[in-house]
């Protein structure tokens, strides 16, 4: 019998990929296509959802072709996606209404301030586990309904559908205007601010607060479980899972027990700590989120520390400043010097995320002197990711009351040895990379494969996890303390940059 595979479709911020995995959880082929990043105004970031779906229809067959397999050898599709990016589309024509508004977009900053009112940004945290920021979907959905002529009326008549990217993909996989299934999963729904974190259902109080009609919302399903059988791209193949990219990475790292944590280093970086069936409310700027739900079992929860700008700072260094040609060259440039020379870059490009949640902050390069070369700046770029991780780990330790003893890492930036060593030095714990760095896709594949019986249980998946690399701490404690103090001083200097009187009106 021909070998069977699970196809993971990872709809990410910069590209859409299809990766095939075999029964041992090993990557067998990858196909990838980037899509355009649209920046119509400062602070606005958009994607063309039609372009993204076209890319899906290309990368899936390409991944299968690469190993000369037949579509019939694919037993399930697992979908994972950039979270919070929001889209409305026409139920009848299948056309997106405008562009998808991306998670990094800050156009809702004024709306956020209005909604927070006197009660402050945490006014909905009890219900949804999240603070009011430009990061999540509900303010974006509200903005789209308010700023597109006639859209609210069409929404109330049930003519338009809302979704994050997994909803858009599943709807299209299942026929689009011809009977497409309009669903989401608990992890993605937990990032909207519209789902009640305890009941895992849309909450009328939240819908009323954001003035969102229930008719546009998808049905919420478990993350792992057969959603439907695809009619497009891979007709006859079951869609076995959908989950947000960071939750997928937690699953791919086989963090199935309370206390297990991972950090994924990509465009942004995200540290998630499994908290079991317990909903832990953070007092240190972490988010409460759903980790996953398998079929009819109770959902597992997680605490999340989100860093908005990590890999994208390297991209800016490459594309915005032109100091390197490829992202990997940053390590080469950084190694031309011994240390950061006293320079610190705080990349508050769209405000600061965890643990500060300061949307009015903007980035700074602190400690500039005539001594600083591009090599020092390259170091500062990489170290920014290390320092942000340390801030999140400190906050997480304070919330959970348990100190982290090792950090499981994954994502593209784990190819950067200088950064991985700096992380170990700064956190003072071993940093461990698993055999499959593509844990986002692996997690989606695992969840889908479980749903169709390709893998029997979680324990079987655990035995696939192996250590591929490890970095041990080796930094003088005094130096660690000084460096961190310098970083914290630099962070202070980002606060209060956007003053209320100069915030753009959200026309």
């Amino acid at each position: 019998m021909a070998e069977q595979y699970v196809a993971a479709v990872d709809q990410g911020t910069n590209s859409t990929r299809c990766i095939l995995f075999d029964r041992r959880g090993r990557l067998v082929s990858v196909a990838q296509r980037e899509h355009r990043q649209l920046f119509p105004r400062p602070g606005w970031v958009e994607h063309d959802a039609a372009e993204i779906w076209r890319n899906v229809t290309r990368v899936v067959p390409a991944a299968i072709r690469q190993i000369a397999a037949e579509p019939s050898q694919i037993v399930a599709i697992g979908i994972t996606n950039q979270r919070e990016t929001s889209l409305l589309w026409d139920r009848r024509t299948g056309q997106p209404v405008g562009h998808a508004v991306v998670w990094q977009d800050t156009r809702t900053d004024r709306l956020i301030t209005e909604l927070a009112g006197d009660e402050g940004p945490d006014r909905f945290a009890d219900l949804c586990g999240l603070p009011l920021t430009t990061y999540f979907s509900a303010p974006r959905l509200r903005w789209m309904l308010d700023h597109t002529p006639g859209l609210r009326a069409r929404a109330e008549r049930g003519e338009v559908l809302f979704g994050t990217m997994e909803s858009w993909l599943i709807w299209n996989f299942t026929g689009g205007p011809q009977g497409g299934l309009h669903v989401t999963d608990v992890t993605n729904a937990s990032r909207t601010m519209l789902m009640n974190i305890e009941t895992l259902e849309w909450d009328d109080r939240l819908l009323a607060a954001f003035d969102v009609p229930r008719s546009v919302l998808p049905e919420i399903r478990p993350s792992s479980g057969v959603f439907a059988t695809a009619t497009e791209v891979l007709p006859g193949v079951r869609i076995g899972a959908a989950l947000g990219d960071q939750q997928a990475a937690l699953f791919g790292q086989t963090c199935f027990s309370p206390g297990e944590a991972k950090c994924t280093y990509g465009t942004g970086s995200f540290l998630l700590l499994h908290t079991g069936k317990e909903i832990v409310r953070s007092t240190h700027g972490m988010l409460t989120t759903v980790a996953y739900q398998i079929g009819s079992e109770p959902a597992a929860y997680a605490l999340e520390g989100s860093m908005a700008v990590t890999g994208s700072l390297v991209q800016w260094f490459r594309d915005g400043l032109g100091l390197i040609h490829t992202a990997a060259e940053i390590e080469t440039l950084a190694r031309t010097v011994e240390d950061n020379g006293g320079a610190y870059i705080v990349p508050a490009f769209s405000g600061l995320f965890a643990p500060h949640w300061r949307s009015e902050a903007r980035g700074v390069i602190a400690g500039l002197t005539g001594y600083i070369t591009k090599g020092h700046l390259a170091r500062a770029v990489l170290e920014a990711t290390g320092f942000q991780t340390l801030e999140v780990v400190n906050a997480m330790n304070a919330d959970s009351g348990i100190a982290l003893t090792a950090l499981k890492v994954d994502g593209g930036m784990t190819a950067n040895n200088l950064l991985m060593q700096f992380l170990a030095d700064l956190l003072d714990v071993p940093v461990v990379r698993p055999m499959v760095t593509e844990t986002v896709s692996l997690g989606a594949a695992y969840a889908a494969g479980l749903a169709v019986g390709y893998w029997p249980d979680l324990e079987g998946l655990r035995s696939n996890w192996h250590r591929a690399g490890q970095w041990l701490p080796n930094m003088d404690p005094d130096r660690r303390a000084t460096e961190y103090a310098n970083w914290q001083a630099a962070v202070q200097r980002t606060f209060g940059w956007i003053r209320p009187d100069q915030a753009r009106s959200d026309q």
Partner: protein, 252 residues
């Protein structure tokens, strides 16, 4: 006698014009100067850009010679770039073979380890990225030496690490000829007693060998009962090298 290759002549003409224009030239400028259609010029520029000979300015409208063009003798692939392209495939090789995997490249007569994947048995192992290996005494080294045309990278002295290390230059030359013929290199207790290895060259654009990927392990796992390198492992290593090469050659 074969004729000259027209596209190379045209590419050479484009390079001459760009070298003479410090502010760069657009597609139309080049097309007019050479009497070529815009799509033809565009195709030539795209290829020259891909091989790293020309750069676009920030507007994307003008092309000029790249810095790298003036330093052709130096290595053209950044080692960290090689690691980031190799990482997925090297992981997959380690996980399929159950052995330690390394990616290496030749620098000043030594093999520098660019990437290292632990043996997937969760035992204690130390990352040895950045350390060097003697090229004549390991599979990784032989896989790159065999395709090194300059001779400059050859080790000066062939030191013995075990009784099986090849220390005779003539024997090494024979061995490298065999590597070229087979497309892979083997190691049998030449560096460390009881260890064997298999490596294959990684080919970038135009077939240039930019490094090698290989695995190392105990003889009884790497070799069959007649002490020959296992053919299934050879196939895996060669497929891995090919996959990394494909990744490098693809435009991103």
């Amino acid at each position: 006698m074969p004729g000259s290759v027209q596209s190379i002549e045209r590419a050479a003409a484009v390079l001459r014009l760009l070298a003479a224009a410090p502010n760069g030239l657009g597609v139309a400028d080049l097309g007019n100067a050479l009497g070529l259609a815009k799509p033809t010029v565009h195709g030539i520029l795209k290829t020259l850009h891909q091989v790293g000979f020309v750069e676009q300015d920030h507007t994307g409208a003008h092309y000029r010679l790249s810095d790298a063009f003036g330093r052709l003798g130096e290595t053209y692939l950044d080692p960290n770039e090689l690691r980031s392209r190799a990482i997925n495939w090297a992981d997959s090789l380690a996980s399929r073979s159950g052995e330690v995997v390394r990616v290496g490249r030749l620098v000043e007569g030594k093999v520098v380890v660019v990437h290292h994947v632990f043996r997937p048995d969760d035992s204690d192992q130390d990352l040895d990225v950045g350390t060097t290996l003697p090229p004549h005494a390991c599979a990784l080294g032989k896989a790159v030496l065999a395709f090194d045309a300059s001779g400059a990278a050859r080790p000066g002295r062939l030191d013995a690490y075990t009784t099986r290390t090849i220390v005779d230059p003539a024997r090494l030359a024979e061995e490298l000829m065999a590597v070229r013929a087979k497309g892979w290199a083997g190691e049998f207790e030449e560096h460390t007693v009881e260890l064997a290895g298999i490596a294959a060259p990684i080919r970038g654009l135009g077939g240039l060998v930019v490094g090698a990927v290989g695995l190392t392990g105990r003889i009884e796992r790497i070799c069959d009962s007649r002490l020959r390198h296992r053919s299934d492992l050879i196939t895996m290593v060669r497929a891995t090298a090919e996959a990394i090469g494909r990744d490098l050659r693809e435009e991103r």
